[in-house]
Amino acid sequence: MIYLYAITHDLELDELSGLSGLGTAPLDAAAVEGLTAVFNEVSSDVVRLDETTMWRHERVIEALMERHPVLPVRFGTTFSDPEALSVALADRRSALGASLEKVAGKVELGVRAIREGSPEDDPGTIETTPTTGRDYILNRVREHRLREAGAAEARRTLQPLHHELERLSSDVRARWSVSPDTLLAAAYLVDEDRVEDFRMAVDRAGKERRDVRIFCTGPWPPYNFVDFKADGGGGTLGTLS
């Protein structure tokens, strides 16, 4: 069977010569109505969900991304043969072409804001040692409320950074309060020549905060921006959920 990495266009076959993907078979490319699909022949046992294999998938796409707009394909996507792949591509040709245009010259940057802190530096911690079970329970209830209020406050204080990053981006996918400590996990679609500005903005914000660690990762292939169904409006509003 064949394993698919990415969809791009205007690719020369010899650009693939230095790259390796899953398994040992060389990478190959198929042109279908103006799109180029990059794949190789694999046996099913090499499509393993482990760290090394996931990075192999990623590295192929990152290498292509240096010279071409790419649409990264979800990990583990295989076809029985190149004909089945061609049919799948032809079916979605116009949506894929539009997506390629949208991401041309842009990269995806990830921002993850993780709450830090122990009871000592949590402003809401109740300091009195409980002497009865009742006090203990009441203290815990109060602490829980204060912690929730603290998380809400931390989210609120992340808004200026999010808006600044939004202005540097052409599209955003933001998820708030992913877990009690992950306040924000967001992906931004950013022009290649704005990546440094973007990183500097995140760094500046991170240095001002002791309660939250703000990580900027990437540049990634635009995984979060190939979802055709969600592209209807073309606006830059993140999803607030």
């Binding site: 069977m1 394993y3 698919l4 969809i7 099913s44 046992d45 499509v47 393993r48 969900l49 482990d50 760290e51 996931m54 990075w55 990623e58 649409l71 990264p72 394909v73 979800r74 990990f75 583990g76 996507t77 295989t78 076809f79 089945a84 792949l85 799948a88 979605r92 997506s99 990830g110 993850r112 993780i114 709450r115 830090e116 802190g117 122990s118 009871p119 949590d122 040692t129 409980p130 002497t131 009865t132 079970g133 009742r134 006090d135 203990y136 329970i137 877990s179 009690p180 400590d181 992950t182 660690r213 990580f215 990762t217 990437g218 990634w220 292939p221 995984y223 979060n224 190939v226 979802d227």
Partner: protein, 92 residues
């Protein structure tokens, strides 16, 4: 170059997994994954998420458990009564 904290690598891996398993182009091919591998990634992901996202919470919890033990041993008899009190005060 800028200094990278240790956890940067962990966060990057979480970000990678978030992307390649859940995002990206979905075509009508097959999703082929080794079953042995799935267990592996979930085990290591759980460990990762614990280390990156909930380390602070774990610290808080263990401190609280420590406090709980003290509170319970110091005042075991009063406990039942005060829990009922608390339930009543919440019910109002």
């Amino acid at each position: 170059m800028q200094e990278r904290p240790d956890s940067y690598r962990d966060v990057t891996l979480v970000e990678l997994v978030d992307r390649i398993l859940d995002k990206g182009v979905i075509l009508s091919g097959d999703i082929t994954l080794s079953v042995a591998g799935i267990d592996l990634v979930y085990v290591s992901l759980r460990a990762l998420l614990a280390s990156v996202e909930t380390a602070a919470a774990a610290r808080r919890d263990s401190m609280e458990r420590g406090q709980a033990r003290e509170a319970l041993s110091a005042d075991r008899q009063a406990d039942d009564l005060s829990l009922r009190d608390h339930a009543r005060s919440r019910a109002r």
